[in-house]
Each structure stands twice: as C-alpha cells, then as structure tokens.
Symmetry: C2
Subunit: 312 residues, 2 copies
C-alpha cells in the first residue's frame, strides 16, 4: 500500500500517473479539506472532488478542476438570482455537491460520503479526507481574512498575504484509517501540492505529522516549485507573502522533519547541496507534468525513489 | 386588482392569457403549495415555479413545466450517484431550488422567497403561496400513501386513488396578503386547475374559503374538464377515484358555495341546466387553450364574465 498526501490539481497529476504505475487498489490518498466551504447551502470540497474526478478519468484536462465537458447552466441562473457566481459550479459537479450535502445532512461522515462518491464514479484507489471535522483555511490578507477559495477564485489571489490559519484544526482528528494507513504502508508520498495551503492543513491535523515522523515507511516529497516558480496556482505568492524564498529548498525546509527523500526538478540541481545539508536526500528528475507521459514518468521516478530507500 | 387561484400548467395557460388582457401589475395569483416536497435536500415548489416561469416568459411551451431550453446534466449525475431521478430537475431549474432552499434556511418565509424569485425573473404580477407553512398533499392509493409528485411523476398516476389529504393544512394560515387580496379585489378567478389537488388545498387553508364566500368581489370559475375529460393531468382519474363523475358539473358542485359564474366549454352546453339548478350561473365558450390566441381569448371571456357580474 502506498499513501499519498495531496491537495488539488498538482497532486492529481501525479496521482493519475501513479495509477498507471501501481495497482490503484494499492493507493490511499489523504486529501486536504481546508478548502471546503459552503455556498448556496451546499458543502463543497474542491480538493476531494479534483482527486475523485481525476482518478475516475472524468477531470477536465484543460482546466484541471471540474468535470470534462460540464456545462454551467445552473450557475448562469444562480447569477440571475443575484447569488455569488465566482465559484465555477458546473452542472454535473453540482450533482456531487447536492449528493454530498444531502448525505452529510443525513448524518454520514465526510469520509463515508467521500468513499461513496468515489465508488460511484468508479475510483479504485481509496480517497480519505484528512479529517471528518470541518477545518477552514483562512488567508489573512491586507484586505482582511478570506476563506481560501474566496482568496483564490473570487479575489484572484490578488490581495497581499500576511498569514494563514487553519480554523478548527486543533479540534480535528484524523479521519478513520488515516493514521493506520500511514503506519502500515510501504511508502508515503507528499504530492507536489502547495506546502502551505494544501499539504499544510493535513500536517496540522493533530497526530498526522507525528505519524509521518514515526512510520517505518519511507517518506518521499515531490517539489511543487521549479526554478523559483510554482508549477500551478498561487504557491509562489503565498510563500513569498509569508517570508519564504520561493524555491524547492524552502519546501524541503518545511518538510525536513518528515522527508527521507525529496524529488526536485533537474533545473534546480544547484539546490542539491543545500537540501542535502538539511539533511535531506535529493533525487533530481523532470517534474513538470505537461502530459500523461510526464505524469507516468514522474510517478515511476517517485516509486523508484521509495524503493531505493527501502532497499537501503 | 384581479385575484386568481391556481395550481400548475392549466392555471398558467389562463394566467398567461390574462397578462395580455389586463396589466400584469393588477394581477395577484394565489398558488397551491400542496405539491411542495423535498428532494436531494432542496425545497421544490412545482406550482409556484410553473407560475413564475410562465409569467416571466421562460416556461417550456411544449412540456408546460420547467424552463425553456433547459438541460439535464445535473440530473444525469444525480442518477449516477444512485439518487432518485424521477423528478425532472433541469439545470437552470435547479438554480431556483438552490436559491429558494438557501433563502428559506436563512429564515425568509416562502412568500418572501417567492416574491424575490418572481422579481428576479421579471414577473410583474404578484405571486403568493397559499400559505407560508408546509402543507403536503397526500394521495391515498391502493399501494399506500404517496406525496403528490411521487404519485403523479414517479408512479405515472397509475395506482388507483382512494382518497386525498392535505397534511398540515389545519395548522396553516393564509400567507400575508392572501385574505386582503381576496377582500379588496374587483374579481376572483378560479383557474382551470384540478379542483381536488390544485384548487382543493388552497380552499382548505383555514380562512381562504370563508374569505371567498364573504368577498363582495364576483367569483368566476373556469372548468378544467371538457366533454368528460380533464384537459391536462390526472384530474379525471382523481375525480373518478374519489367517486365523482368526471364532468364540469362535478367541478361546479365542488365550488358551488363560492361561484357567481362558471365558465364551461361549449361542448358541455348540455350541462348548463344542471349547473344553473345548483344554482350557479354559466357561460359557455371555447376553453381549450392550445395556443396563445386561445389563452388570450379565454382570458378575455373570463374578464368579460367578471365585468358582467359587477354590472348586474
């Protein structure tokens, strides 16, 4: 069993590659839920959905979010009614939110609902939310605090970032199966997701970071930063806003207590000595996943990294 | 001000005609809410929506329900998730249910929400739910009790009908403005809707039937039955199942304490003596509303009927 920790689109690319390299039934993905929020009375879980849609083969390959070929008729009418229309709710996607919200109201846990949605979509990997309890990633900006999706989508990641908090995380517990998976797996992958807002909330759920430190399984991270820029999303703005250098080295520092190996892009080879001095072992490869071939290739390299650690 | 009591598609046809004959701003429609039900966590009000969509010019002219040109992407994914898919929720239509459900949860009344939706759609007439309290029309069939939409749509009106009840109606109160509109208007129209399941619930809200009896305004009914058959929907099955003859005469009997005039189809002219013997005045005309011209024509005839009563 391989355990992967991930957020949205960056993680989903590597996970899709992994499903071509190992049996998806041997993959457990622990997903960030700090982005979850309520809109129009619906509980929306962007990272869980991106993960499920991607692993089911339904993801929109252009956008990286939502369902391929989805339409936006409901959204245009929500707009007509004067409702917030900045979050791009597709019509098919809406069915997921309706289904999830209805099941949660009936008393099912987020983990149960997530599993049910994934099975309905034909996902063979196991998708676990980091926690069943609500956690909200709040971005503190120069315009005040915003929920993460408000900052990212509504405000286009424009406001300057002063800090990030994960509201509710102190009271949260790892979802059933999360700690067991970390303890008993043959390897852990920290996907190339934003270390602050995607992997950060997962590591902040009490018990998860400790379990990653304690597990006998090797832990491999894949850098989401190449050549001083984030591959996707506002990682660079967030890192810079919080006072970090935007580099694979900064990411390695954030994970250094956990990592047995860090995979960085070969364009960042000059960072190898500094990362090794943390000390963290490094492997360089091509980490930009522009097509399926590149995703599979990075997945193979990641599994090879895990295997090399087990052999050593 | 003209007040019309109506249910779904039959009423909507006449109402559309009325809006070509009088200023829509002078029309108040009191709408049945006994069909309202919950599905996928949404509060769905079929008759309110049919009325609003029709008066806004958005109704699907073929089907009589829903929004013209609507798509059904969300529904197909709800079906994929194993959810009930018998109720034909269009994607645009879904926005209405989401908006209404969210506003109701925020504490607005159904009347407030209904007004807000109607204004957003550009409806100039005033649409009032019969009551703000939940009322459920239950059809007792040989297979047990069913909510009305389950009986009509899910079961295709196939089970034999033994009776009808309006759960919650005893505790309901007319929505604000309903009694005032009936008291102060210059005429009341009972639209050609099902007398049992569309007009019946409205008349069962405590105070509404009495207000119709007491108002000085003339009350005109339009028969939904022509030549022993219902123009639309399961009116004939319901009337027959409850032991009524399926005829304009049966409908006139159900309303006889209220009616100053009953408009029936000229094909039913042989029923005039029996209806007049109730005693209810009768006017015969063409009541089948196959196109907009016919709707306007029947609306003119209805207004002429009201005016004749006021003159007499």
């Amino acid at each position: 069993m391989i355990v992967a920790l991930g957020g949205g689109t960056g993680a989903a690319k590597l996970l899709l590659g992994l499903c071509h390299v190992i049996d998806p039934a041997d993959l457990t993905v622990i997903v960030n839920t700090g982005d979850d929020f309520s809109l129009h009375g619906l509980t929306i879980c962007p990272d869980l959905d991106t993960t499920a849609y991607t692993l089911a083969g339904f993801a929109d390959p252009e956008r990286g979010w939502g369902i391929d070929g989805d339409t936006f008729s409901a959204l245009s009418w929500l707009h007509r009614y004067g409702r917030e229309a900045w979050f791009h709710l597709g019509d098919r996607d809406l069915a997921t939110h309706l289904h999830r919200t209805a099941l949660l109201r009936e008393g099912q846990t987020l983990a149960e609902v997530t599993d049910r949605i994934a099975r309905s979509l034909g996902v063979r990997a196991r998708i676990l939310p980091m926690t069943n309890e609500p956690v909200s990633t709040i971005v503190l900006t120069d315009r005040g605090p915003s929920a993460l999706q408000e900052y990212l989508v509504r405000d286009g990641a424009q406001p300057a970032v002063r800090g990030v908090s994960f509201d509710g995380v102190d009271r949260s517990r790892p979802a059933p199966g999360v700690l067991e998976a970390i303890e008993s797996c043959r390897g852990v992958i920290l996907c190339p997701s934003n270390p602050i807002i995607s992997i950060g909330p997962i590591l902040s759920v009490p018990g998860i970071r400790d379990a990653l430190r304690a597990t006998e399984a090797p832990v491999v991270g894949v850098s989401p930063v190449v050549g001083g820029r984030a591959l996707k999303g506002p990682t660079d703005k967030l890192l810079a806003g919080l006072g970090y250098d935007v580099s694979a080295l900064s990411v390695a520092r954030l994970y250094q207590d956990l990592l047995d190996l860090f995979i960085i892009d070969r364009h960042d080879a000059e960072l190898v000595p500094a990362i090794e001095a943390l000390p963290v072992r490094v492997r360089t490869t091509a980490t930009v996943m522009g097509n399926l071939e590149a995703k599979i290739s990075l997945a193979k390299e990641t599994i090879a990294g895990l295997d090399s650690l087990r052999a050593s």
